[in-house]
Structures are given as structure tokens and as C-alpha cells.
């Protein structure tokens, strides 16, 4: 028996179905996390922009007030604003880095899921399966496809390599 040859008995088939389900869920979770980080990044960068513009206003206002009355409140508030903006910028970068790390992970999960999907689909097409087993695989495949599409939509799943012929290498629609 060659290395790539596997006996597709009931246990193996169940295992493949289980893997299909597990990887689908993991990919979904990864995509959700990426989406959350993207939203968080967007909120943070908006806040930084807002704080910076208000902070700049406070500083210039505080400078004038300080010159005339010696009241340093506006100035201090402006500087505090800049410190908060710096903190938020740092949070933004950390959020973006985490998002990229998860994206890289989700690329790998996506590729693995695709391999499992191919295996499951081939078993369903050419293997000796009961109607119930076929239905189960079909439903799991639909779910896995949805997860893959969503992962691609979030823009982090790997672009298909168009030179890898015969491996579903066109642009997905």
C-alpha cells in the first residue's frame, strides 16, 4: 500500500467528518476574531484622530490662557490627550499585529480545511456510503464552504495560486 493510500472504513470516514467539522469551527472562530480586531482597530484609530484634534485644540487654547492668566488646565488637558492618543495608537498596533497573526493562522487552517473538504467530497462521490452519511457530508461541506468564503471575504485567506493547475486554482466567485 502506498503512502497516500488510505482505507476508508467507517472509523476513518467518521474521523474525516469530525475533522471537517472541527476545522470549519476553528476557521469560523479565526474569521470572527479577525473581524473583531478589525473593528477594534477602526474604533481605536478613530479615537486617536479625535483625541489628537481635540488635544491640539486644548494645547493651543491652554497656551494662550497660560500666557494671560497663568491657568495651565488647557495645556495639561492637551498633553494628557496626547498621552492617551499614544496609548491608543499602541493598542491599535498591537491589535493589528494580533489580527495579522490570526490571519496567517487562518490561511493555514483554510488550506487544511480545503484538503479535508476535497477528501470528504471525493469519498462521498466515489466511496460506498449510505444516504445518511452522504447527507451529513453534504451539509458539512456547505458549512465549510461558507466558512472558507467568509475567511476570504475578511481578506486574510490566501489567494489561490493560479499556476497550481488542476487544484481549483481559478478565482473563486
Amino acid at each position: 500500500m502506498s503512502q497516500s493510500q488510505v482505507n476508508f472504513d467507517y472509523t476513518t470516514r467518521s474521523k474525516i467528518q469530525g475533522l471537517l467539522s472541527d476545522y470549519t469551527n476553528t476557521l469560523k472562530e479565526a474569521s470572527d476574531s479577525i473581524e473583531q480586531f478589525q473593528t477594534r482597530s477602526f474604533v481605536l484609530i478613530s479615537l486617536v484622530g479625535l483625541i489628537l484634534s481635540i488635544g491640539a485644540g486644548f494645547i493651543s487654547y491652554g497656551w494662550v490662557r497660560f500666557q494671560s492668566t497663568g491657568n495651565a488646565f488647557g495645556w495639561i488637558a492637551g498633553i494628557f490627550g496626547f498621552l492617551v492618543a499614544t496609548l491608543f495608537t499602541r493598542l491599535y498596533y498591537s491589535s493589528r499585529r494580533k489580527s495579522r497573526l490570526i490571519a496567517r493562522q487562518s490561511e493555514i487552517i483554510g488550506l487544511k480545511l480545503e484538503r479535508i473538504m476535497q477528501l470528504a467530497s471525493q469519498i462521498a462521490e466515489h466511496g460506498e456510503l449510505t444516504a445518511a452519511e452522504k447527507l451529513e457530508i453534504e451539509l458539512r461541506l456547505v458549512e465549510a464552504e461558507g466558512a472558507l468564503r467568509f475567511a476570504r471575504f475578511t481578506g486574510h485567506s490566501e489567494e489561490r495560486n493560479t499556476s497550481d493547475l488542476g487544484s481549483g486554482a481559478g478565482k473563486s466567485v
Partner: protein, 274 residues
């Protein structure tokens, strides 16, 4: 006849190489786009017949003489852009029975007249499959030999091809607007010695009954059809376990391959330009 005979092949080879090298100027593409808009061609067919490879070939990503990287099932509906003057998308859905739900939307497009052409890819049963040994498939019943298995497999896959054209027939009969179709028999290199039989199978059997039914319903004005055959990649039919199910026919070479693929490309272009 669905193939170019070897006697004609050599004279067409030089022309084919020249054509494959030429790039269409942007102006011609714009002219075609203004005249006809964006065309859509749907590639139907069972899994493992070479639909994705055909997409690559028409998109100009695959050169004749290329050797296969092995079969891997497509996981989603794919789209390619046709190389040449025409502004045209090629839509390729997965062909596995279990994944036919992808076809529903494409049938809808046909009904709405959004697709101008259909290529139905068949391969006289020589469908590739992945990951399994032939002994793991449902077609193998012990104590079958490999040859007996393959006979049973081919028959099953030919039935699947017929099932697809049976399902496609009513959709094509009711499709809106003028439509053209090419029945493309791939993997010519595997069945070349049996070409008269292949010709007979498609042109005189129940497959052609379906085509005639569509022609009768729509009329020749509204439905153009052509039978053609190609070999996009010359390769043995091998399972993932390394078992050779069918070998490339000796004597089948690049001149025949080029001549037939040129004829196919020309037909696609002439149909799509109508």
C-alpha cells in the same frame, strides 16, 4: 466527427503556435465589449473531466505540452477571463454530484439569458479522482481485477455524463435568448485509439438525442451546437495510490493535440463573436 485527423494536424500546428503567441490589443477588446458587453460562458460537466484545466487553458494560463500537477477537486465556483478579443468570463462550478447545488444559480442565469454560451465537458468516462485507491471506490467489488473495475467505473461515469446532459437539456430548451453550446470530449490522449467508438457514443447515442431535442425546441437560429475534443494535458489516468488505470495512447502527440485544441479555441471565439 469530433476530432481532427492526424493527416490534417501537422498543417494546423504552425498556425496554432502563432495564434497562441498573439496578444489581442486593448482597442479590439474595448470594441467587442462595447458591441456585445461582458459575455459569460458556463462550463458544466462531471467532476474530474478537466473543467478547471479548461478554464486555465482558455484564460491562457496553460500551454500545450504542459504536464499535469495531478488532479485536485475544485472547492468553489471559479471564474476565469477568456484570453483574446472578447471580454468574457468563464464560470466553472464543481462537478461532483454532492456539490451540484452550485449549479442552481447558473441554471437561473441561463434561464434569464445572462449566459451566452455553455461548454459541457465530458471525457468518455475517463474521469480523474483523488485520494482513493480504486479498491476503495464503490465501483470495485471483490474479486474484481483492475481491468474489470475500470470497465465498471467507465460505465458509471458515462452514465453520470448522460445524467448531466439530461438535467441540462430542459434548462437549455427554456433558456432566454440565443445560446450556443460546445460538447467537449477531453482526455483525447487516453481514448485516441477508440476514437470511432467515442464519436459513435456521443453522436449516435442518447447524448445526441438530448442535443437534438434542444435543437428541435429552440430551432437552429437560437441554438448552435458543436462536438469537439481535445487533450489539454497528456497524462496517464493514475489514482492517488499510483495505480495506472489508463495510459496515454502511443502515437498520440503534440501535432494532434495542437490541431484539436486550435479548432476548439477557434470555435469558442467564433461562437462567442456571433
Amino acid at each position: 466527427m469530433l476530432y481532427v485527423e492526424p493527416s490534417l494536424a501537422l498543417s494546423l500546428t504552425e498556425l496554432a503556435i502563432e495564434k497562441r503567441k498573439s496578444f489581442a490589443p486593448l482597442a479590439r477588446r474595448i470594441k467587442h465589449w462595447l458591441k456585445r458587453g461582458r459575455l459569460k460562458i458556463v462550463i458544466f460537466g462531471p467532476g474530474g473531466t478537466g473543467k478547471t484545466t479548461l478554464g486555465h487553458f482558455l484564460a491562457g494560463n496553460l500551454d500545450i505540452g504542459n504536464t499535469s500537477a495531478g488532479y485536485a477537486e475544485s472547492m468553489d465556483v471559479e471564474s476565469f477571463k477568456l484570453k483574446g478579443d472578447l471580454v468574457c468570463s468563464l464560470i466553472v462550478p464543481p462537478g461532483q454530484e454532492l456539490r451540484e447545488y452550485h449549479w442552481t444559480g447558473l441554471y437561473r442565469d441561463l434561464a434569464a439569458g445572462k449566459s451566452s454560451g455553455v461548454i459541457n465537458v465530458v471525457s468518455w468516462g475517463y474521469h480523474s479522482f483523488q485520494a482513493l485507491s480504486y479498491q476503495d471506490t464503490k465501483y470495485f467489488k471483490p474479486p474484481m481485477t483492475k481491468a474489470e473495475f475500470f470497465e465498471s467505473y467507465l460505465q458509471n461515469r458515462r452514465d453520470r455524463e448522460q445524467e448531466i446532459i439530461n438535467n441540462l437539456t430542459p434548462r437549455l430548451m427554456d433558456a432566454k435568448g440565443k445560446i450556443w453550446m460546445i460538447t467537449l470530449v477531453t482526455k483525447q490522449d487516453l481514448w485516441w485509439d477508440d476514437r470511432t467508438q467515442v464519436d459513435k457514443h456521443y453522436l449516435e447515442g442518447p447524448y445526441n438525442d438530448c442535443i437534438q431535442q434542444i435543437i428541435r425546441k429552440r430551432g437552429e437560429q437560437n441554438f448552435a451546437h458543436e462536438y469537439l475534443s481535445v487533450s489539454l494535458i497528456i497524462n496517464n489516468l493514475v489514482t492517488s495510490a499510483g495505480e495506472v488505470l489508463a495510459s496515454t495512447v502511443s502515437g498520440y502527440g503534440q501535432p494532434i493535440q495542437l490541431a484539436n485544441s486550435t479548432k476548439f479555441v477557434e470555435t469558442v471565439n467564433s461562437f462567442a463573436s456571433r
